[in-house]
């Protein structure tokens, strides 16, 4: 197991290197500079600024500097917000995004599995149609539309939740739901079809033949086997929750990391772009690793390559 994890860590490093390199060259190719949006200033000042941030160096020197920054995890000062380092920005806004993300994942996985199990148990009967309808609606309505609708009806009209901002738990419910609902719909569909597939298999019939009740059979036998496709979806789900949060954080005026990630690109805020990209990449790569380990925990037939018992 340790050997396997070590091997995967090496792969993660390679992947990170590729991501960092690709990001660097994409930024280099993009026109504009961090100072383009400011008032016109004399070329001397621009040259000084470029010199200060090392932007006048040839690309290979800049590339080397970036790699060193990345390895030491010190991305330097933001080019837009003077006096704030990239690490500070991440440290300040990431906990907010993390809370939102975890909440959204819990909602989507919990709601998705629940809807899926209900749909499968009452196959082709009313509860199935109801939960399938909810799932399809969830998948087809974009999160920003849902966010707007929820803000208008639940927050503005009914005054159940705050409209926007980030001052406590009640502020997180609407945005987390908005992010989660699409994924919940997806997970519900996955769970339903995989539950149905498992329910017709012999071992479920065998469990019934043992005299186990309907729900005991579901929870002890069917569900665990049915969850494998859902676990597969957890990797993309993490990515989805992260990217989904960019828009939702804008709509709900949440000071999370997603906002910085998007604005840093339009601002050509090179240091912040590099910092947030590397940071998100690490999270996603680790999410994928965790999913792979979860596989072998859920299904003993899956042996991790290189893992020894």
């Amino acid at each position: 197991m340790l050997k396997y994890i070590f091997k995967r860590l090496v792969y993660i490093l390679i992947a990170l290197y590729i991501i960092v390199t690709a990001t660097f060259f994409l930024i280099q190719l993009a026109p504009g500079s961090p100072f383009a949006s400011e008032r016109d200033f004399p070329p001397q000042i621009e040259a000084q600024l470029n010199a200060k941030y090392g932007l006048d160096n040839p690309w290979y020197v800049q590339y080397k500097d970036y790699l060193i920054d990345t390895v030491t995890f010190d991305f330097g000062e933001s080019m837009k917000y003077k006096g704030r380092s990239t690490n500070d920005i991440i440290a300040e806004s990431f906990p907010i995004s993390l809370t939102l993300g975890i909440e959204a994942m819990l909602i989507s996985v919990g709601l998705g599995i629940l809807l899926g199990v209900i749909a499968a148990l009452y196959h082709n009967r009313f509860p199935d149609y109801l939960s399938s309808t909810i799932a399809v609606l969830g998948i087809s309505v974009p999160s920003f539309i849902l966010a707007g609708l929820m803000q208008y009806f639940l927050a503005f009209k009914l005054d159940l939740f705050p409209v926007s901002g980030w001052k406590g738990f009640s502020y997180s419910i609407l945005p987390a739901t908005a992010i989660a609902i699409t994924h919940a719909g997806f997970i519900a569909k996955l769970t339903r079809s995989s539950m149905l597939e498992q329910s017709s298999s012999d071992y479920v019939k065998m469990a019934r033949a043992k005299g186990l009740g309907k729900w005991t059979t579901v929870f002890k036998h069917t569900l665990r086997n049915a969850l494998l496709p859902v676990v597969t979806y957890l990797g993309p789900l993490t990515a989805g929750v992260v990217t989904g949060s960019f828009i939702i954080e804008q709509i709900f005026a949440i000071p999370g990391l997603g906002k910085h990630f998007v604005t840093s690109i339009t601002n050509r805020d090179y240091t912040v772009i590099m910092g947030t990209t590397v940071f998100y990449s690490i999270i996603l790569l680790f999410a994928v690793l965790i999913v792979d380990i979860l596989y072998s925990v859920i299904d003993p037939r899956i042996k991790l390559k290189g893992a020894k018992k």
């Binding site: 071992y203 065998m206 033949a209 043992k210 086997n225 003993p300």
Partner: protein, 353 residues
Amino acid sequence: MMKKKLLEVNDLQINFKTYAGIVQAVRGVSFDLYEGETLAIVGESGSGKSVTSNAIMKLIPQPPGIYAGGEILFDGRDIVPLTEKEMSKVRGNEIAMIFQDPMTALNPTMRVGKQITEVILKHNKKVTSAEAKERAIKLLDLVGIPMPEKRFRQYPHEFSGGMRQRVVIAIALAADPKLLIADEPTTALDVTIQAQILELMKDIQKKRNTSIIFITHDLGVVANVADRVAVMYAGQIVEYGTVNDIFYNPRHPYTWGLLGSMPDLKNNEKEELRTIPGSPPDLIHPPKGDAFAARNEFALAIDYEKEPPMFKISDTHYAKTWLLHPDAPQIPIPDAIQKRIQGYLEEAENSGK
């Protein structure tokens, strides 16, 4: 000594609702099963043998399945009207089932030991989990699994096909059931393992006096294990009797066909494999008269008009064919079949039965 009657099935009818119409899968099946006896139900695919066995366990999904009539008396109690909850006390506890394919019958993500103790704990409220474990290990030992303590903690994928079927049998035996329904338990196994599993089942039956319903399409297996045989065709029992009745004195043309379609290895004769021409009837619209008439080379005119009743041949032997009517022409058993029966008789004599 009179044996106790354990199971009595009377005029059981099972239908399935499908988009095409109502399929009459089981059309009035009746049989008895005594304690410690083995009843083999034979027939081709779609003859209703598996539906009958699932019906006894009440494992027919409803809908689409419908219990259209008849009763299933287990130990004198009709189990058809029992609720799901009452039935869960019977399943696994008094009637247990062995499935056809051991590769899929075990939960792949649960340790083998737990799959056995689960049954013990479900049906014996007083047993502690440590006692259940002990009993499960004994069961694994009983069904011939070496190193049961180690095997107890393994997952199904760490077992071979034959070993898995032994585990399935151990699970079926866990709550010490009175009736074991084996739905083609050896079909998915290779021949040597088949023989071992059959020996094991016979052995267990002797030790525990369990009754067995053995569903199969393999007549060779039937001769090996059964006391009585019910031949099913198109959802009905067409011939019913002891093993000797069915093998030495078959009376129904369908049974002749079945016996004839076994390769004859004993007489060492070169012949083409015989088949029964045609295919089973559509059970959404069962044919008028005898369902087998269209495929029967000895069919009489009345076979197309009126369904034959069960004719009694002896106290143990019944067959559902107009050929047994006193007015029917005397049709002898076809030569090829007669020759085989001769072969069986000689073999039985040689082995000193």
